[in-house]
């Protein structure tokens, strides 16, 4: 609330207010979009390491699948990043 009152007190014009809102929205878009893939990659890597430790002869296969899984999951963060570029950078 204090931050909002600071903004009001600063007397922003309509355009400035719009830019400030876009910057806040972009920050949220990028930040929130990075959380999901972070959890997903952690889960993928954790399970892959478990699989490789249990069955080292299948490590190559697991590594390939893990790499592709990580890259696909990361695409979600990249979509958030692109939204961030387009609306608020």
């Amino acid at each position: 609330m204090e931050a909002i009152s600071h903004v009001v007190a600063a007397g922003l014009t309509g355009d400035e207010q719009k830019k400030a809102n876009a910057a806040i929205g972009a920050g949220f878009a990028y930040g929130i979009a990075a959380i999901g893939p972070g959890i997903g990659i952690g889960y993928i890597v954790g399970k892959s390491v478990e699989a490789m430790a249990r069955q080292p002869e299948a490590a190559g296969m697991v590594r390939t699948t893990m790499f592709l899984g990580i890259a696909f999951t990361e695409a979600l963060a990249l979509i958030g990043f692109v939204v961030f570029i387009l609306i608020g950078l």
Partner: protein, 148 residues
């Protein structure tokens, strides 16, 4: 019953299939890249061409760094590999942000072209690569070529 080896000490020797897959994706990216760059050039002009080329370099570099990190750290220990992948994710996002932030106000940058190329190249190359990945015990990386 034998005990499961600890991931903190187990390490993986031998070939790195993710480097092979990543190299193949980069090769395909360099083949398809000019088409995407030309398309962006038609829509957004010269700014589209340069932005699209920049985004292509970022995406291919991202794949190369991700595969390199896994390959190097897997030779040391699986625990280190796990840490490197998770922190690598943060570091790569940070590098990507910095790379775009530094050029955001440059005259040769078109943001829609940059964003579109990042998403299309990343997802497109991954989906295309799935066709050529074997991921089997005999061929952990790519499928063997017909000439072999």
């Amino acid at each position: 019953m034998t005990a499961t080896p600890s991931p903190m000490v187990t390490r993986l020797e031998g070939a790195a299939p993710e480097v092979e897959v990543s190299r193949d994706m980069i090769r395909r990216g360099l083949i398809v890249g000019p088409v995407l760059i030309a398309l962006c050039g038609v829509i957004w002009g010269m700014a589209g061409v340069s932005s699209s080329a920049y985004a292509l370099v970022l995406v291919l570099g991202n794949f190369a760094i991700a595969a390199g990190l896994i390959a190097i750290t897997a030779r040391i220990s699986l625990g280190l590999m796990m840490g490197a992948i998770l922190f690598g994710y943060l570091i790569r996002l940070g590098i990507l942000f910095l790379a775009v932030y530094l050029v955001k106000d440059a005259g040769w940058i078109s943001r829609p072209a940059l964003g579109l190329t990042i998403i299309v190249t990343h997802l497109g190359l991954l989906a295309w690569e799935l066709k050529y990945v074997a991921a089997s015990l005999a061929h952990p990386g790519l499928k063997p070529s017909r000439s072999h």
